[in-house]
């Protein structure tokens, strides 16, 4: 905000007609505030891939990484949950990090990958959606939000090439069709709509296997929450970078539910009861619930 310091009146470029995008406004008038600006020439985010001038000489940058995010749809909405561990190499960098955030009133975003960049990206994404909503007087469509996030990831490609990738999972309630929808991304900004359930991060192969067996198309929100907690437990069971429920410190996953009424975080007290049930059940059967085969008999 260099021009602002000259006088306290609003700078002339604040009055420029046109863009409803906060990122375009930043790129044109305050590019130093864009994420990754330090490692980049002054290429604006809107113009695609940023420069790749960050130093490689010092070798791989080590920064905290977020791990597993799971999402599952239910009748009329979607659940997203994330474990609480951030790792840096073999170290646990933080045991109560939060990796699922509300993007706006009707959508949530979960982050896996380099935590510092991801958190900044989410903050910018939240501001972008709210800015559009305030200026235009209406919210973006769910597809529009998903596409916007795609361009954010693409602008981080330079950093991703150096091992600092950010891979979010985006989910929201689609007002047009009254369903919950899930979108996944790759590091180049590719956007893919996922059906029923999905998971990203280091523990995702295990979580996805678990979701595959436990997901039911007709499930309600409570069932979808239980499915997500089971999937995170399974991910933590087999992936060292994913944190399981911390029973001694009472640290449980962050779980958001999104439906027509908006995005809400499931309260800690409610989560404790659900988590205790999952853990109690694992005392009986450490591998988790038994899936049924088509004939209806248990396979174990």
């Amino acid at each position: 905000m260099t021009s602002e310091s000259q006088s306290s009146r609003l700078p002339a470029h604040y009055f420029t007609a046109g863009s409803s995008s906060f990122v375009e406004f930043l790129a044109a008038h305050a590019p130093e505030h864009l994420p990754g600006a330090a490692g980049r020439s002054s290429a604006p985010a809107g113009s695609g891939v940023g420069g790749q001038s960050a130093e490689r000489g010092s070798g791989q940058v080590s920064a905290p990484h977020g791990t597993t995010i799971v999402a599952s749809t239910f009748d009329g909405g979607v659940i997203m949950a994330g474990d609480r561990r951030a790792t840096m190499g073999n170290m646990i960098a933080q045991r109560d990090i939060e990796k699922v955030y509300p993007a706006d009133e009707l959508s949530v975003v979960g982050i896996a990958g380099t935590a510092g960049l991801a958190v900044e990206m989410v903050r910018l994404f939240q501001t972008e959606l709210e800015h559009f909503e305030k200026i235009e007087g209406m919210t973006l469509s769910l597809e529009g939000k998903a596409n916007r996030l795609s361009s954010f990831i693409r602008s981080n490609l330079g950093m991703a090439m150096q091992g600092l990738a950010v891979v979010p999972l985006f989910a929201g309630y689609d007002q047009a069709s009254d369903i919950g929808r899930i979108f996944s991304y790759d590091v180049t900004g590719g956007r893919y709509e996922e059906h029923d359930y999905y998971s990203v991060g280091s523990g995702s192969p295990f979580a996805r296997g678990s979701l595959k067996k436990l997901f039911r198309a007709e499930q309600d929100a409570d069932a979808a929450v239980r499915v997500c907690l089971q999937a995170l437990y399974d991910a933590a069971d087999d992936d060292s970078a994913t944190g399981g429920p911390d029973m001694t410190r009472r640290i449980f996953p962050v779980v958001y539910t999104v439906d027509a009424r908006g995005a809400r975080r499931i309260h800690e007290s409610e989560l404790q009861v659900l988590m205790d049930a999952v853990v109690d059940q694992r005392f009986q059967r450490p591998d988790g619930p038994v899936a049924t085969d088509p004939t209806g008999e248990a396979t174990s």
Partner: protein, 231 residues
């Protein structure tokens, strides 16, 4: 070379002020009033799309009368100011005082330097933790700022409406009472005579201090007609 006629600075300022006042007086009025749970905004506005009241930030809202393109321009600049500040520092660092200051400087500069002053009057309101910490700033076309308490009326019939609100407003009004009071004042004045303003002709919004983050909410449709018919 022809010499221009000499016009005294006093005359220039007076002409500009008269011009701006006339422009504002042509418009319909807006009432902003505190109630027990927040701040109420009521505008006589038949349009569903061209708003006179809007959200600026978590706890800050904006109301304006006058020329639409001019106050819309100010509103967008305010949203950009708030979002940039909130993004580069923290959400808590966006204040109505800072925004009112920036608007005042902007309006003041335009009034003295530009050929044509802005024909607008705006209110920047911020809802606090309790009624005592709510803030209401009224800004006029020349950049003067007033720190208001209780209620403010702007637009064509501002004086008549203010006089009526002066008698009726008191602290701790409920939302229904505040809305009834504001709508009655707008109906009584500003037209050829007393009229009935129904929800089709009103733009109503609140800054509700009990909402978690974004306090601004529009009241429309059934919710608004229920409130209007509650007493």
């Amino acid at each position: 070379m022809t010499m221009p006629f000499y016009v005294s600075p006093e005359q220039i300022i007076k002409d500009k002020a008269d011009y701006a006042r006339k422009g504002i007086a042509r418009g319909r009025s807006v009432v902003v009033a505190q109630y027990d749970q927040g701040i109420l905004f009521v505008a006589e506005n038949p349009s569903r799309a061209l708003h006179k009241i809007s959200e600026i930030y978590d706890r800050i809202a904006f109301a304006a009368v006058g020329k639409y393109n001019e106050f819309e321009n100010l509103r967008v600049a305010g949203v950009r100011y708030a979002d940039l500040r909130g993004y580069s520092y923290d959400r808590a660092d966006v204040t109505s005082r800072g925004l009112a200051n920036a608007y005042a400087q902007t309006l003041g500069t335009v009034f003295t330097e530009a050929q044509k002053p802005y024909e607008v009057e705006i209110i920047v309101a911020e809802v606090g933790a309790d009624e005592g910490s709510d803030q209401l700033y009224r800004l006029t076309f020349d950049g003067s700022v007033g720190d208001e308490h209780g209620f403010v009326a702007m637009g064509g019939a501002a004086e008549a409406i203010s006089t009526q609100l002066q008698e009726q407003w008191r602290p701790d009004l409920s939302l229904e009472q505040a809305l009834t009071m504001a709508v009655a004042a707008l109906s009584e004045h500003g037209g050829q005579g007393p009229r009935t303003l129904d929800e089709q002709l009103l733009e109503v919004a609140i800054l509700d201090r009990n909402r978690p983050r974004r306090c601004f909410r529009r009241l429309t449709g059934d919710e608004l007609s229920d409130l209007l018919n509650s007493e």
